[in-house]
Every structure is written in C-alpha cells, then in structure tokens.
C-alpha cells in the first residue's frame, strides 16, 4: 500500500537509517546481546546520523525541527533489526533530552545537550523506584535543600542506559504528597553520594545496560534543578508522549520482522509433503499477523500526522502503545509457532523479540496504566 504522508526527505532518511542498521548493527546483534554490551562508538555513529536531535534547537546540537514520521520511521527500522537491547541503550537519551531542553538553564543546555545528542555521552531518565513505577505520584526518593544546593536520598531502579550514562534526569520529592510535591534534577555520574549497580539477569534487552541507582545524600547544585519546584512531572508528561510514539513504532518494527522471518521460513520448510506456506492454518496465521500490523501502521501514521499538525493526541498515544505491544506479542508468538522447534533456539531475531515483547508491555507505561490513561484522556 502507498503511504500518503511520504516525502522525498522521509524516504531518504529511512533509507539512510536502513543502510546504517544493515551494516553497523544487524551483523552484530546476536553477538552483542550474548555479550551483554556493545561498543560506545555506535552511539556516536547514531548521533552523527541525526537520530537523537528531534525537536531540539540546533544551538544545542539538535536538528532544529521535529517530524513525527521520521521519529516513527527510525523507531521501526531500528526495531526491525531485532536488537532491542541496543536500541534501548541508544534511544533512552531521547526521553531525557526533552526535559533538559525545556526546563534547564541556558548554561546547562549548552553544556549538556550537545554531548548527549552527538552520542559522545549517555543520558538516562530515572523515575521508577523499587517500590513502583506505575504510580509515580508516590515516589519516595527525596531531595532536601542544603545551602546552595540539594541533597538527594533514595533509589531508582530499572534505569535503561543507567550504567554508562553521564547525566541523569531524576525525579525526587521536594514537597508534600502527590504529583505536586515532585521536582526534577539533573545528576551527573561521579557526584558525591551517587552510586550505580547493574541489573544483570533481565529476560531480554541483554545488550542494554540497566541499573539501580543509589543516592546517599547525593549533592546537586541548585542550578541542576530542572524547572520550577513541584511542577515538573506535569512538564515531562509531553516527553512521555514522545516515548510512547517511539515504543509503539518499535513494536511495529518488531512485529514486521516476525512476519517477514516467519514467511521466509514457511516458504522453505516442508511438512506433510508441501511447504508450510501452503497449509491453510499457516496461511491464516500470516493473515492475522499482517492485518494487525497494517492496522498498527495506519494508526501510527494518523497519530504522527496529528502530532505534526501541532496537537498532542495523548489518548491515542496511550492506546497505540497498547495496540503496539499486543501486536508485537501476538506476532512474536505466532512467528515462533511457525518456526516450530527452530524458533526455540537462541541466535535468531524471532526468539529475541519473543522475549523482548514483555518489556514493551511494561516499560514506558504498562498496558493497564495506558488503558486507564486513555479512558481518562477521553474525558471519562
């Protein structure tokens, strides 16, 4: 089908990202995942390509423009590689540069953003705590004033990019209970009282560095407070919307990869004297996967168009994230099934994607929370 929204620039960008992924990531996806790490050079290369600068001024190293379709296309293309861990560690900065660009002082913006957007340094967003991630209004990490700065105490966990990042956008309570008591801070690795430990036994995203962060009276200068005290969580809600667009696009890429690999296998593999693709049960699986993928893609494009028009369709972004993760989960499961025993073996994309669909259903706002949010956004 044709994409009514495509332009020469979007196509050129997509093809550039495709070429980059095919040469620089795909050949190493499995090796890096098994090793639980990948070379930092890839961050720089992805930065040079322009993957981290959407919606951020050129003065701070950004692109100086935004385009939801390009965000979507790069999300799809990267996820199609089936290297979810690599994408997570590359992309996690995209959920923390927005708050810096919007809320930090001019001095911090100029010092920090170009480093992160170019891929020279890493950045992470630290919201989730051991006591919970769904209900951020109850976060326990506290920041108290100390002379010219603040002292942060508490713990953050499941922080993507958390072992290698140089800067962290951290949510901490500075006031009373509820959302209104929470402020944001920029914490630099190496600050006194800041420590990090790796989370090593994840089900997927092995190549990604995930961390628990420990703040023991960690000192942050007053200038590192982002935005006004107590108003910050509201200010980063928009950021979560972009994260949902990215995650749903990633789910689309994962689902497409599952479908393509399953079709490839079904054409080659024979049972009962004919290729799998000639068995009606398998053909129906292909139809079921394909129609869900088409629907997700069409939905995402309508949302991208709306975002480019300057609106923020928060309810749809919440819903599309659920449609994305359920589609990816369905396609991964069906594709695994079509591969039979071969699907159960490590070293190929479908098996990895099958393990990684769950983080898409939980991270960045779980399916349950997204449904609740969507209905709330619908005014109900």
């Amino acid at each position: 089908m044709q994409n009514p929204f495509d332009t020469a620039e979007r196509k050129a960008f997509r093809e550039s990202v495709e070429a980059f992924v095919a040469r620089e990531i795909a050949p190493f996806a499995n090796e890096w995942d098994e090793a639980g790490d990948f070379p930092w050079e890839l961050h720089r290369q992805a930065g040079a390509l322009g993957l981290f600068g959407f919606g951020i001024d050129e003065a701070y190293g950004g692109l100086g423009f935004d385009d939801a379709f390009m965000r979507m296309d790069s999300g799809v293309t990267l996820a199609y590689t089936g290297a979810g861990g690599v994408n997570a560690s590359l992309g996690c900065r995209n959920i923390m540069t927005g708050p810096i660009a919007k809320l930090a002082s001019e001095e911090i913006r100029r010092a920090v953003l170009p480093e992160i957007i170019s891929g020279r340094e890493g950045g992470a967003l630290a919201m989730t705590e051991p006591s919970g991630g769904s209900d951020l209004s109850r976060m326990k990490t506290r920041a108290v004033r100390d002379g010219q700065g603040w002292r942060i105490s508490g713990e953050k966990t499941f922080i993507t990019g958390g072992m290698k990042a140089r800067w962290y956008v951290v949510g901490a309570r500075t006031g009373s209970e509820g959302f209104g008591g929470i402020s944001l801070f920029l914490v630099e690795a190496g600050s006194q009282g800041f420590n990090r430990t790796p989370i090593k036994n994840k089900m997927g995203w092995w190549a990604s560095d995930t961390a628990t962060l420990h703040f023991d009276d960690c000192y942050v200068p007053a200038g590192n407070q982002l935005g006004e005290e107590g108003l910050c969580l509201l200010a980063i809600m928009e950021n979560f919307n972009f994260e949902r667009l990215a995650l749903a696009s990633g789910c689309l890429g994962m689902a497409k990869r599952c479908l393509d690999d399953a079709i490839g296998w079904a054409k080659e593999r024979e049972t009962f004297g004919k290729p799998l693709i000639r068995h009606q049960v398998i053909r129906h699986k292909i139809a079921d996967m394909s129609m869900r993928i088409d629907a997700l893609e069409a939905y995402l494009r309508a949302i991208a168009w709306t975002m480019n028009e300057g609106e923020m369709p928060a309810a749809e972004l919440a819903k599309v994230k659920v449609l994305g993760s359920t589609t990816a989960e369905f396609c991964a499961s069906e594709a695994m099934q079509i591969l039979g025993g071969a699907g159960y073996l490590r070293g190929q994309a479908i098996e990895r994607i099958y393990r990684e669909v769950k983080v898409m259903a939980i991270g960045g706002g779980s399916e349950e929370i997204m449904r609740d949010l969507a209905v709330k956004q619908m005014g109900l």
């Binding site: 020469a8 620039e9 960008f13 550039s16 040079a48 390509l49 993957l51 600068g53 692109l63 390009m70």
Partner: protein, 249 residues
C-alpha cells in the same frame, strides 16, 4: 579543483532480481532502487578530497528517468554541492553516457571526474574508459587509493596480479573499486540541507547526443540452478575427480 561525479540509479544490491517471463530483461516494477554502490564510493572519495581542501566544488550528474533525481539528492545529502539531471526514459548504454559526460565536462571544466568502475545492473565496466578516450584524458581505473601531489594524481589500481600505481597530470579520470573507501551515511541534517541544493534539469538533446542503442539484447535468462555437490572421501579421490570428471586439472 572541481570534481565531476556521475551517479547511476540501479536496482538495490539487496534485491533478488527476477527475469521477466518474456526474457526481455529483469522485472523492475516495485523494486527498490538505489545509487550504484561504486558510484557511492566515487561520491565519498570526492567529498573526502573536498574535506582535505583539495577540491572546492563537487558536481554530480545522473542520466536517467525522473527517479534518478532521488539518486542525485542522495549524493547531495552525502555532501556534493549541486546536481545535473539529464532526464531520459531511454535505455542508455555506456557510449551514450560517455558522450553526454564529455559534453558536460566541456561545459563544466572539471579537473577530475570520478566514476564507479561499473554499475551493478549491467556490469559493463566501460563508461569511464570511453570517457577517457573521448576527452583524451589520462585515467586511473579500479582505484583503491587516490593521492594528489601538486598537479599530479597518484592512483593505486587493483589489478589481477595485485596492485599497480600510476601517476598522471590533471585533468583526469578515476574509476573506483570496492576498497577505495567506505561511503558515509547521509545524515538527517544533511538530507534536509540537500533539499535546497540546486539540480539543473537537462535533456539528452541539450547535448546533441543520439541515445540510440548500439547493442541488441537477444535474451535475458536466469543463471542455471546450482547442482548439489558430492562428498569425497580422500584427497586422491578429489584430484582424480578434478582430473577425469571436471577436466580442470
């Protein structure tokens, strides 16, 4: 120095082409098209020379259908300065391309023309050499290294027996081999900048070149399917088979 880089739009190297049932050619409907990989290497080399301060301007030319404009834009997004698109839907053979390029060289007066050694569609490996003959310029073909030393160019060529180095004065022609460089990816900021770089629209008639093919395609067929091999037990058996059955020893 001004560098002219011709670029060709071809079927993407990842596409498994299929022969049309009537055997007149390969099916190009809905097939992904890209810049010929050897042309990409030529663009990259020109950009590197410009980055080293050895060149001031890079002009890319493509002779082909409307879609070839996209290929020119890709070169502009990599870092070339402007484009010339000679639009035609006709089949263009190396000689016709070389004749048009010779005319463009006359108008543009580049000191260096860098071309891919061949295009991956027809694999003709002829345009650069023909252009050299038409212009009477020296050429360094199958380049794996290009060095500029004052007014001379030193080109390391990949030849059957190894490497050969040739030196010659400018203006000159270089054709690229695979190991010359690794082309960069067009970055998003540069893709957006390329939008504003000029592309001159031209037609073959502007150069007075007759595109009529000199070659006739009789038939295009799939290569024969690979046959299953045999396993041999010993080296002696292998040698015997190569000698007696394959007849290659």
């Amino acid at each position: 120095m001004k560098i002219l880089v011709p670029v060709k739009r071809v079927v993407d190297y990842n596409v498994k082409v299929r022969v049309k049932p009537d055997q007149t050619g390969v099916d190009l409907a809905n097939v992904k098209m890209s810049m010929n990989p050897f042309c990409e290497i030529a663009v990259e080399e020109a950009i590197r020379m410009k980055e080293k301060g050895l060149a001031e301007e890079i002009v890319v030319v493509s002779i082909g259908p409307a879609g070839a404009q996209e290929t020119i834009r890709t070169a502009l997004a990599m870092g070339a300065d402007r484009g010339i698109h000679v639009t035609t839907d006709a089949i263009v053979e190396p000689l016709a391309v070389a004749k048009i390029l010779a005319k463009i060289a006359g108008e543009e007066s580049p000191e260096l023309i860098i071309l891919g050694k061949q295009a991956i569609d027809d694999d003709a490996n002829a345009t650069g050499q023909m252009l050299g003959a038409l212009l009477g310029w020296p050429q360094g073909t199958f380049a794996s290294k290009v060095e500029k030393d004052g007014d001379t160019l030193k080109v390391t060529r990949e030849i059957d027996g190894g490497l050969q180095t040739v030196s010659f004065g400018l203006p000159a022609i270089v054709t690229t081999d695979l190991r010359l460089n690794e082309p960069r990816y067009a970055s998003l900021p540069n893709i957006m900048k390329a939008k504003r770089k000029p592309i001159d629209a031209k037609a073959p008639e502007d150069y007075g070149v007759d595109l009529t093919p000199r070659l006739e395609v009789l038939k295009v067929a799939e290569p024969p399917k690979r046959q299953g091999g045999v396993k041999v037990e010993t080296v002696a058996e292998l040698v015997s088979k190569l000698k007696n059955e394959a007849g290659v020893l």
